[in-house]
Symmetry: C2
Subunit: 355 residues, 2 copies
């Protein structure tokens, strides 16, 4: 395959501001290559669209997402805007569920030139990937939580064999792929199997699936100890896989190690679809000021190209993705400093420096 | 009240090694005071006791705990030892449930002289308290998780008004008490109210209870953003209160900010009872080598004296607790370095330096 259709959902607030330069950079890479082309279709979605129309994720947008080769998303949600039942307008969660995007891939990598959050010099060598299961766990029945008589409330954590098998196979294959570039080839299962039946089941299936990937070393870790080790020796991790809620918490912690949410890209990957998006939210406080850090969005775009190139065996697209990531690294090495870390480089200064 | 009976449960592994010097230091403080005395009753409990006798928390121990003024615990659990159903032997969880110790108080404080984990100089100014709800949340039905047909597993998160009201009243009063020493008097409710009905309920009760503490400023934060901010600006927190599982993860992260689990004290407090224990586990890998860091245990002992002094209006006990904490600070300022942070000071070197 040489032509890729991308559904673009800029969403709310700074989502729009970081997606614009990302699309521009991706177009540029495609225009320089003879081996792949990209088509972009902008689609409505988000909390502000809900405010205008009563729909956060219109059918037309869902159709475009369904037929696209990949989905590029900005950020969605807005503080004062809620569904009538009080929950947040977060169509990104609906996309995960609708397309069964079980593998939330969140690379945690020190970007050269960005001062490490840690005092240990090895803070500059952080390079691991957190895979957050993204359709079940505590989120499985997120619309079915109950409050009984204003006296007690419940939510349910659900772990299924069906999703776990796909998740772990993905994570093992991902670890194996990374190993080709010289990483240790080690996958850590992060759970709380010592206390919860559901997470003991999670670990059990992890161990079962290991049988098909005996070239990959495995490790078991508790989620609390993992939070500690993400501070004490994050450079020692290769790939970790965990439950949805745990992954939500640990990936933000990981973003902190990178300098903030504006540096942290992500991909939500299923069998037939994938969404690429920066880990940050819509940031109403800085929206419209040109201050947003587009790095996470640009790196998400790079992940998208790498994923398309791998999935559809298009080496040029894969190479372009790596090139984009390297361009980000070079730009920061040359001394960029986003507002997010106390600098004065805004959205366009950063995007221009990456070009 | 001037005499306090302490039930001492050293437990497993390094639990025994760190409790011994802690009891010695507490005895010394009592012997130097005319205003309070301490009695210590050592009790069997833990995974190794379970191995010997088939009981992890014997009735006699429970009786001693029930009648004591406070409980001092070392560490419990042992990797290869499990209950027949495969779950961990963790009598500390049973104590929390049995005595309804809903308030897990975990101070996160930079100890002078211990190099900060963070590169920002303000890492030396970290001083906040995490209150982990410790009897319900995801742990409420921890023995009732189910696996259905080897196909699906479930656990349930339960939030009750009854516990929340007690928890938040405790947290507000605790924040108010701290404010007397010059802290901002701000309590942050950490949840995921944007997604889960149970945690929206948690937040709602928090807001209700605020009415009785209008001198305390409040803040709402999501657990994922809190993990990020514990890296980006932990010095900005005063007191935070959160659900059990979230608190488990965030408090280990907090221990990482302090230099490791060996520095992190804790208290589990209910209406009539309280357990004081270092946050670390039994650490079989270093047990018996004299390498364990007793700081967390000693600081837990200091918290115990402060709590007894406050609860029973014994200013001398309260002062002795503060004195012990200050002695720890002075010892580290003078240049102690535990194995945990790459140094060579073992259990007795540290305990001796504190005296
Ligand atoms: C906005 C929120 C519902 C979402 C989540 O919890 O998944 C976000 O935190 C994320 O990590 O993508
Ligand atoms: C040992 C374990 C069951 C326990 C917990 O999860 O509460 C521990 O991590 C803690 O924080 O006290």
């Amino acid at each position: 395959k040489t032509h890729f259709e991308i559904a673009v959902l800029p969403g709310d607030g700074i989502g729009v501001e970081v997606i614009a330069p990302t699309v521009r950079l991706l177009e540029q890479l495609a225009s320089r290559s003879d081996s792949f082309t990209l088509g972009f279709k902008h689609c409505d979605a988000g909390a502000l669209h809900y405010q205008k129309t009563g729909e956060a994720l219109p059918d037309a947008t869902m159709d475009s997402c369904r037929s696209a080769d990949a989905i590029l998303l900005g950020a969605m949600g807005w503080p004062e805007l809620r569904y009538p039942d009080g929950t947040e307008i977060a169509p990104q969660l609906d996309l995960r569920t609708e397309f069964q995007l079980f593998a939330g891939v969140r690379p945690i990598r020190s970007i050269p030139g960005i001062p490490s959050a840690l005092s240990d010099a090895r803070g500059a060598d952080i390079d691991f990937v957190l895979i957050r299961e993204s359709v079940e766990g505590l989120f499985a029945l997120r619309n079915e939580g109950v409050v009984i008589d204003d006296r007690e409330a419940r939510d349910t954590m659900v772990i299924t064999r069906a999703i776990c098998e796909q998740l772990f196979d993905f994570a093992f294959a991902y670890t194996r792929e990374r190993k080709k570039a010289g990483t240790p080839g080690r996958l850590t299962c992060v759970d709380k199997a010592n206390v919860f039946a559901s997470l003991a089941f999670f670990r059990k299936i992890f161990d079962e699936r290991h049988a098909g990937f005996s070239d990959i070393a495995v490790e078991h870790a508790y989620v609390d100890a993992t939070a500690l080790n993400m501070i004490k020796k994050p450079w020692a991790f290769d790939v970790m896989v965990t439950e949805n809620m745990f992954g939500d918490i640990l990936s933000d912690l990981g973003a902190g190690l990178m300098g903030g949410m504006g540096f942290a890209p992500s991909a939500d990957i299923g069998i037939n679809n994938a969404v690429f998006q920066p880990s940050h939210g819509s940031a109403p406080d800085i929206a419209g000021k040109g201050m947003a850090n587009p790095t996470a969005a640009i790196l998400s775009g790079a992940m998208m190209l790498e994923w398309l190139g791998t999935r559809y065996t298009n080496p040029a697209a894969l190479a372009a993705g790596r090139q984009l990531r390297d361009a980000v690294d070079r730009a920061f090495q040359a001394g960029l400093a986003p507002y997010e870390i106390g600098g004065k480089d805004g959205t366009s200064a950063i995007a221009d420096a990456v070009e």
